[in-house]
Amino acid sequence: MILSLFLAFLKIGAVSFGGGYGMIAFVQETVLSHGWMTQEEFLNIIAVSESTPGPLAVNMATFVGASQAGFAGALAATLGVILPSFLLLLLIASLIGGLMKFAGVRAFLSGLRPAVVALVLATAFTMILSTAFGLSSLKEAPVFEATDLVLFLLIGGLALFFRLWKKKALSPILLIVISGALGILLSAIG
């Protein structure tokens, strides 16, 4: 178990580009395919990782590891997710000179970037389907609840309103706090 946690997160650390949001897709894929968590449990973990400080990837790794195998699991998963970047960046920092100057490297990255953006947006889209409409795949019947759709629309509307009104995005932590409060409020009403 500890080894498979370490290896799974080693792989995530080695292949995910573009920070936490890009990584969510990989971690989701990993925990679902290993049967470590359900989609709903995973969303809870993202919520906690988002609303606590520190790198999203480390938070997710620690949480998934701890939930599967306690402290040793948390340590193994965190070490796994860190190790590839640590070694690679150590290498790059010591060889720095001009990796970005090679046209081939730039060309590779120019193909990679739109794919990363697509990954993030596709993740957002499948999350909307599962949180707001209760549809997690076409193989299962959707479990639709109007409350969840209302919550999504309220929070999305709030974020959009704030963006247009203040001309800058609502801070993630404030958005999380408001979302939690709205959830509790809706339970009181409903």
């Binding site: 580009f17 573009g18 920070g19 936490g20 949001y21 897709a25 990989f26 919520a47 988002e50 606590t52 400080p53 520190g54 790198p55 999203l56 480390v58 938070n59 620690t62 701890a66 965190t78 860190i82 970047s85 640590f86 960046l89 150590l90 720095i96 060309a107 590779f108 120019s110 193909g111 990679l112 739109p114 794919a115 990363v116 953006v117 697509a118 990954l119 993030v120 947006l121 596709a122 993740t123 889209f125 499948t126 999350m127 389907l129 949180t131 707001a132 193989k139 409350t147 919550l151 309220l154 929070i155 999305g156 993630p172 932590i173 408001i178 979302s179 939690g180 959830g183 509790i184 809706l186």
Partner: protein, 192 residues
């Protein structure tokens, strides 16, 4: 002695960065800039921009990448180790403690409802990050084709519960970028 002091300051600076950044790599870049360029002047602005580019373009968490890079620049391998440890330690401790109480915590009805709201909030956050990334993406015809193809493939994978790693999609997209560059270079060569 001077070196030990410097290493300690490096560790403490990254401990602080790890403890006070919420919301992932992009939020961390802003904090790093303030601490490392403006306050401590460990890197020049240009060096910082190079570092950011490399941290974003290499795999792995941006925060770990930047900590390793800056740490190495300032204190060699030991510096890299201390900076990375510093940035990880706060989140590791906090999350581990939360995970111990998480199941008991979730069984409270209030918490269940709060998390129902928070799940919707996280979805909104990821959607808006995706939209921002898309807005800043260079929209060449090739980039748009890659974007569309990867987006649709990812949707199909999750809706039909297919087993196909998105890693291959990323690598494949990079190779397409490389091929497009090669074709352009050959065409240019033909003309001249």
């Amino acid at each position: 002695m001077e070196k030990a002091k410097r290493l300690l300051r490096l560790f403490l600076t990254f401990l602080k960065i790890g403890a006070f950044t919420f919301g992932g790599g992009y939020a961390m870049i802003a904090l790093l800039e303030r601490e490392i360029v403006a306050k401590k002047q460990w890197l020049t602005n240009d060096e910082f921009l190079d570092m950011t580019g490399i941290a974003e373009a290499t795999p792995g968490p941006v925060a770990i990448n930047s900590a390793t890079y800056v740490g190495y620049k300032i204190g060699g391998v030991l510096g890299a180790l201390l900076a990375t440890l510093g940035v990880v330690l706060p989140s590791f401790s906090i999350i581990f403690i939360i995970s111990l109480f998480f199941d008991a915590f979730l069984s409270l009805t209030v918490v269940t409802w709060a998390f129902r709201g928070i799940r919707a909030g996280v979805t909104v956050l990821i959607l808006s990050a995706g939209i921002r990334l898309f807005a800043r993406m260079e929209k060449t015809p090739l980039a748009l084709v890659i974007f569309g193809a990867v987006f649709l493939t990812m949707l199909a994978i999750s809706l039909f519960v297919l087993h196909f790693s998105s890693v291959f999609l990323l690598l494949f997209s990079g190779v397409i970028g490389l091929c497009a560059y090669a074709i352009r270079a050959i065409r240019k060569g033909d003309k001249s």
